[in-house]
């Protein structure tokens, strides 16, 4: 079975925000929610500035799943971490547990308070019947079920953001580091935290 992983190449990301906007539009996210965040550090410092696109990494032994007080997460055989919005109580614990700040909370609960959690599904929908209207409304597209690449990676014009089976993604990563001829081959950005090696 393939183990699906994300990799954002900080050497290629140009902070165009394409992934974030494409995700918002494709999944018709509520106002104020963006499952992908493009963050730039060391802005203006020559040679040190870089950007990466961050969303849920679909971690190994996902911490969010471990802390949820209502146990609403489930992890697919391909490693995709999903949750059930009809069980979630929007308590925020998964956000505190998450190394990547992935869970977010639209203000759509009673009296405009914090509602249930939303995060990247790797475009794999949720527990409702595949491609049902309810699945789409609650979780967005289920592109994985249709054999399509998740939206954000599909539109990335520099191929900085890639997603796929871990063996293939690691391969691409190694080739890129070798071609650049600088830096050491370690693991891609965030992988040691998300996948423990």
């Amino acid at each position: 079975m393939a183990r699906m992983k994300f990799y954002c190449d900080e050497g290629r990301c140009i902070e165009c925000l394409g992934c974030a906007v494409a995700c918002e539009e494709a999944n018709e996210l509520p106002v104020g929610i963006s499952r992908r965040k493009v963050v730039t550090v060391n802005e203006g410092m020559e040679g040190q500035e870089y950007s990466v696109s961050v969303a849920c990494m679909h971690c190994t032994d996902a911490p969010c799943e471990q802390v949820c007080p209502v146990d609403c997460f489930y992890i697919r055989a391909d490693g995709i971490v999903l949750h059930d919005k009809t069980t979630c109580i929007g308590c925020g614990y998964c956000l505190y547990a998450c190394p990547f700040g992935a869970p977010q909370f639209p203000k759509d609960g009673a009296f405009g308070t914090r509602g249930v959690m939303d995060k990247c599904t790797m475009c794999a929908g949720g527990p409702e019947p595949t491609n049902s209207a309810k699945e789409r409304e609650l979780y967005g597209q289920n592109r994985i079920a249709e054999g399509k690449v998740p939206m954000c990676a599909a539109i990335c014009s520099t191929n900085a953001l890639i997603v796929g089976d871990e063996a293939e993604v690691s391969d691409i990563y190694r080739k890129r580091v070798m071609q650049r001829g600088k830096g050491v081959i370690g693991v891609p950005y965030g992988w040691s935290t998300a996948y423990k090696g």
């Binding site: 925000l17 974030a20 906007v21 918002e24 104020g32 929610i33 963006s34 965040k37 493009v38 963050v39 730039t40 550090v41 802005e43 203006g44 990466v52 961050v54 911490p63 471990q66 802390v67 007080p69 209502v70 146990d71 609403c72 009809t86 069980t87 979630c88 109580i89 929007g90 308590c91 925020g92 614990y93 956000l95 505190y96 547990a97 998450c98 190394p99 990547f100 700040g101 909370f105 609960g109 009673a110 009296f111 308070t113 914090r114 249930v116 965030g190 935290t193």
Partner: protein, 323 residues
């Protein structure tokens, strides 16, 4: 981006002013035509991704590297300790009181006579407002902690909203309660003696207990509810608002997400103390001393009860000729 603009400007500088003006005008018009319709989308994205939010900022990347500090601690405590401790402490407290009730039993005092007037209408209203707040806040807190067992969903979600509503009620009662009681709640020498004999609760006999208007147990509850309560309000508010910004906190150099993690950890540990003393308070006022609830309804406390359970207060009232 800025470097690019800078480079272009220096190139343009060498041109005659007129050409420059036409060039700029053309550029503006062309750009405007080309970007109408696109601009709002990018602006919207920028806004969502950068302005205002401290959870979504360069801090986010910084915190991935520092996840080991507070992130892992929170996960460890939530997975291994919080639920177990809440369960253990609550069951422990309940068992102790059940045994106390069965073995030693409640204290009974004579309620003849008109009693001693201790609580004005104002004090009673403040007390019952705070009480209602706790009755809303504590069971709903437990519902969230044991949300798994309740199946989650709308029931527990509603409990979470009620938890916040209860908090507002508690905030309202907080200042008047603090002001009306903090002087009689200050510690005295009686409190040490009270603790040494555990308030006389370990014997069936009616013994004279050293205590002023409030005994050491009541004082402990007052301070945990007040000082603890203010911390509970603060940490709860941090979790509620999530993405707020308090300039003063920048001095501590904490990432926003770590601040909320610390809030959640504090809220859980202190919640155990508040919940345990709340249950104790209920047991004392409803079961351990028969009829003690009356004082908070009518304002009058049984003279017999004051004489034994608050002996120093009784002596003081006697001296002042109030009895």
């Amino acid at each position: 981006m800025y470097h690019m603009a800078g480079v272009q400007l220096t190139k343009v500088k060498g041109l005659p002013m007129k050409k420059l003006f036409i060039f700029l005008l053309g550029a503006v018009l062309l750009n405007a035509r080309e970007f109408i319709g696109k601009v709002p989308l990018v602006e919207h994205a920028k806004e969502v991704h950068f302005t205002g939010s401290r959870l979504i900022s360069p801090e986010l990347l910084h915190n991935i590297l520092h996840y080991q500090t507070w992130g892992e601690l929170f996960v460890y405590l939530q997975v291994h300790w919080f639920r177990a401790l809440f369960f253990g402490i609550t069951v422990g407290v309940l068992v102790v009181f059940l045994l106390h009730y069965l073995i030693i039993g409640p204290k009974k005092f004579s309620h003849s006579g008109k009693g001693v007037f201790v609580y004005s209408v104002f004090k009673r209203v403040v007390h019952w407002t705070a009480a209602l707040a706790f009755v809303l806040v504590i069971p709903t807190g437990f519902m969230m902690i044991f949300g798994k067992e309740l199946g989650g969903g709308d029931l527990v979600l509603t409990a979470r909203y009620i938890h916040s509503i209860g908090t507002v009620l508690f905030i309202v009662s907080f200042i008047p309660m603090f002001l009306m009681w903090f002087i009689p709640m200050l510690p005295t020498l009686d409190d040490i003696k009270w603790f040494l004999m555990l308030g006389g609760y370990l014997t069936k006999k009616k013994v004279v207990v050293p205590a002023g208007q409030f005994n050491a147990g009541q004082k402990m509850w007052f301070w945990v509810a007040m000082l603890g309560g203010i911390v509970m309000i603060g940490t709860g508010a941090m979790m509620y608002f999530q993405d707020f910004h308090l300039a003063i906190l920048d001095r501590f150099g904490l990432d926003q997400i770590d601040l909320i993690r610390i809030a959640a950890i504090t809220h859980n540990f202190l919640g155990m103390a508040v919940a345990a003393l709340f249950i104790t308070h209920l047991y004392m006022s409803l079961f351990a001393i028969k009829g003690s609830l009356d004082s908070m309804i009518s304002g009058n406390k049984s003279e017999d009860e004051v004489k034994y359970m608050h002996s120093s207060f009784y002596k003081k009232l006697k001296k002042e000729g109030k009895i």
